[in-house]
Symmetry: C2
Subunit: 345 residues, 2 copies
Amino acid sequence: MSTPILSERQKIVLALIIHEHIRSTQPIGSKNLIEQYGLEMSSATVRNEMASLSEMGYLRQPYTSAGRVPTEEGYRYFVGQLMGNTELPSATRSTITHQFYQAGQDIDQWMRLAASILASQSKAASLVTAPQPVKARFKHLELIELRGRQILMVLVLTGGDVRQQMLTLVEPVSQEQLSSVAGGISALSQGMDYENIAGIAPPVDALEKDILQLVISAMRQENLLTGEVYRDGLINVLEEPEFAESTSARRALRVLEERPFLEDLLSQTIMNSDVGAIQVLIGGEGTWEELSDCSVVLTRYGVQDMAIGTLGVLGPIRMRYGQTISTVRFVAGLLSELVAESHTE
Amino acid sequence: MSTPILSERQKIVLALIIHEHIRSTQPIGSKNLIEQYGLEMSSATVRNEMASLSEMGYLRQPYTSAGRVPTEEGYRYFVGQLMGNTELPSATRSTITHQFYQAGQDIDQWMRLAASILASQSKAASLVTAPQPVKARFKHLELIELRGRQILMVLVLTGGDVRQQMLTLVEPVSQEQLSSVAGGISALSQGMDYENIAGIAPPVDALEKDILQLVISAMRQENLLTGEVYRDGLINVLEEPEFAESTSARRALRVLEERPFLEDLLSQTIMNSDVGAIQVLIGGEGTWEELSDCSVVLTRYGVQDMAIGTLGVLGPIRMRYGQTISTVRFVAGLLSELVAESHTE
DNA sequence: TTTAGCACTCTAAGCGATAGAGTGCTAAAA
DNA sequence: TTTTAGCACTCTATCGCTTAGAGTGCTAAA
């Protein structure tokens, strides 16, 4: 199915209808449109264009003699072809930047802040996952005796990523011994990724061997959703009139609450895209029924081949795409910078 | 205002009305009631009792000639005086226990599981905060050079509680030097709480002194809400018919989403209560307007003077209190055991 | 190619009328 | 004295009906 070619006037009409519908939530009529935007043509002309646009599948009528509402296809065309690349006002940009630099170096704070900013700027629900190291390299290992056979393993990777893991040994081992094992492995594995480490000759000592295995598997964890998922602005979604009926609201929020669903969504969309590329999912795209009234703007941030996280916004299909996309892009860029900074050595 | 004394029959009528109203969401009429529960009296008798109960403030009528609905006072009387101490069926108990022991030793998993179980059992929204150590004692300190002047401080406390903090030094310090400082402080502070540590003679070395200060302030963090708040079942709240109107749903969910509000709520209620005591807040209790349609069941878990966390459920005022309270009690007890286990040495 | 005019369509809103669930009161029954 | 049957009354929710009005598609003129 090739995309039909629209005349300039059709583009204008489509863009204005979408704009006005996003503003008013209502179906848009021809007369209403020319009055609102002072168009230099008659309502009959607009009606003709509307008829064409409906035939192409970009508009539809809720019922026979009502105004027009954009279809999912209509939104897609708008986002892909009509919408200019808006940028956040510089005042907003600097406010946001400022907030991030005030938050210090705490990654938890960054995530929370990012979620909060995305939510308030886009007036929709936001989600942010912490940057997951890709091919992280070994930096330091520490083994700490908690009590008896319980050991805490603290693994420090490049980029300030720290992984903790508890383990229980078969028999008690003294702290000195643990420290020496940790020191040995640290010296051996310095600066290596997990494949390298797996490649080195396995130590003879049983304890050392076990720990090394654990280190490797801990470094291997590249799952997108291992860590916490930061959410914000769920209430914003409820504010939207299309979600006044709690059934539809529930459907939309389930997406954000249920981890398996989220994993599915992320893995099928954003996982294969480049850092910086922004994906806009409009109305579930035929795959996710739960999202049929929603749109999702997603992107990945971080440093390619180093540490990658995901962030995005979920709102009504009727969302302000320009504003939302530019916010997502800006916040992602900012986080990428911050992540990059903490990875340069 | 002293509580009026109810006759046995009045108690029965009140309990049944509440029971039936929770089941049906509807105002309950006299005839309906005797039919549903096969009462051995006439509707007129029930009507008389209803009139008395209304006068006492335990029931009200949505409008002049409608059935009765419990008031907040009515629910309070029910929860305080009428409701027996129900216990979770043993099958459910063992299923839950099993799930916890399968989750291993990961505290993050425990929290997530607890939230999930609370939500699904009570069919309402749940929240769980991680156990915050109270007067934690020092166990081990590690200082790890990340790059140049950036240092990662890993502080291990009793009970397996680990705190990380990044810090930037004025000038670069070698890893050997850091390890020696960490070792020195570890030896010095072994088994002490932060007050003890603050009491020891300050070291002469500037670096050592600074680090010690950081250790103390890190140990001091006893804030209730420093960590992550685990939530689940927000959608359950939307399922309830009283929250079909999105305005009321929004109000209720805001409570769970906005951290400051949550902090306020927790600090004003549960903070001063003992571990194991269960608080039931019915309809905001005149203090929290946002909760006027909701009830909250809260408790603290953990080991007194060691590590305390909070957990609870938020649902409609029309919630199944017996079921919810016993679930909250059981899960809290289970978590307390788990926390206690990881604190014994 | 555009536009004015017009008949036509369909919803949302307003308006009774009605059914029915529930009450409170009174007077008889227990 | 307490309970209950009987009855008039109240109030809502619901249904059907009408109507206003926004919007359309089509035709024919500009």
